[in-house]
Symmetry: C2
Subunit: 267 residues, 2 copies
């Protein structure tokens, strides 16, 4: 038993969908979230810079005595996971592995779709890991550059998002994938419209939920589960223009109002 | 008379819309284009870093003996114009001033709309300059985060772009602006759908065209106009994944095929 907080971090605020899934799965855990909104997006930066930034974020949380680190960002998970793990005194989990394990488990026909940002799809991080777990799998990947702005704009359930979804998922439907990984922390916002377009028989793998599930399992195994009756949630960002408040509310709900604090990483 | 090339640069490939306007306006000029596709987007980076990157780009072109520098990027024009001007041995022009001058000239009711990226709109660079030229102007600004991915995806004229345009321009129509500045080099791709939505009475100010016009005027004044019968167009980028080729083609047309060269800025 350990009531120290769980540390969750992301290059921006997409990771709030992961925090939301954790609060639902593990309601007695305190959480500290840190989003690097001053330097988002990381996707276009070099591996060296992404690793440096990620270690800054991890250090901020480690100083605040977190018991576990959750990398709630596809880019950081793909590029800097080992570096963070090697430098962290506490255990760590990323968003990619839990989603890939779940997809490999639920797919029956071995045809797995992956959607994500241009950077994530180009890196083929999901595809490589899927083929490690299941060498016979057929992986179909599609970059969906409109999905992040659609999620941030709150166009989650209107005709614009429906048409964009139709366009992007066309080839995955044609390939008859039976499982689709939402490989970007923003995409859970578009869950309903994606499920509707793919049809109910296709398993959607929402990496925010699979990450929360694997986190629970690992906390149990390591005897680190908490039992806070009044868990504390803290939210930090490195820059907080009005837009961040708006979008954060959209991703996490009203509960976040007034709780988002701007900090400097040199603090 | 001077037949040296004109140097045009951008953080990415949006600036190709400016190159296209220059080739139409000034068909006897040679052009060297440089897009920093390895480090795009600049919008989220600090002023110091943007200035350093911009000076790198300018230096590359100056070494290649350009006679004039065109900053075909809103972020660089807003943040680093003075630094480039102070360090450049050749004259320079940005995209913001020509558009603002044109808008102030054509607006009859003084109600001017500006659309751009979140960064551009947040900086209020257009608004500030409009109010310098016309202190009584009413400026209405709207960030349109979906427009860059829509333009890059080639969704220039479908229902998705129509619906997004309706949504974003709603408040500008309500404010009865009679002039609308397209404050992002990607937006000329969406010109038709924006004009249709605003109606034919609203003047659209396309900064790629206003920049080409002002460039012509300044070349004339400085006696730097060229008269190449076989002008040479060269296109350089700092990273060239497949997507850059696709999008570049969309922005500039077939003529670009096979002409995009990847270079390193340390060369």
């Amino acid at each position: 038993m350990n009531n120290n907080p769980i540390g969750v971090f992301d290059s921006g605020i997409g990771g709030l969908t992961v925090v939301k899934a954790i609060t639902e799965k593990l309601p007695h855990e305190s959480i500290i979230y840190l989003g690097d909104t001053a330097r988002v997006p990381y996707g276009t930066r070099s591996k060296e810079i992404i690793t440096k930034f990620a270690l800054d974020l991890a250090q901020f949380l480690i100083k605040r005595k977190v018991k576990f680190l959750v990398v709630a960002c596809n880019t950081i998970s793909a590029v800097a996971y080992d570096a963070i793990k090697n430098s962290s005194p506490v255990p760590i989990i990323g968003v990619i592995t839990p989603a890939v394990i779940q997809a490999s488990r639920v797919s029956k026909n071995g045809k797995i779709g992956v959607i994500g940002t241009v950077g994530t799809i180009k890196s083929d991080t999901y595809g490589k890991l899927i083929r490690v777990l299941n060498p016979d799998a057929e992986v179909y990947s599609v970059a969906c550059p409109l999905f992040v702005p659609l999620a941030e704009e709150g166009f989650a359930n209107n005709l614009i998002s429906e048409l964009a979804t139709q366009e992007y998922l066309k080839s995955l439907k044609k390939a008859k994938v039976d499982t689709l990984i939402l490989g970007c922390t923003h995409y859970p916002i578009l869950y309903k419209v994606i499920q509707r377009e793919m049809g109910n028989r296709v398993n959607l793998v929402d990496s925010s939920h699979t990450t929360a599930e694997m986190l629970e399992k690992r906390l149990k195994n390591l005897k680190l589960l908490g039992n806070n009756t009044h868990p504390k949630w803290e939210f930090y960002v490195t820059d907080a223009p009005e837009r961040v408040y708006q979008v954060a509310g959209r991703f996490f709900g009203e509960a976040l109002n007034g709780k988002l604090k701007k900090i400097s990483l040199s603090e």
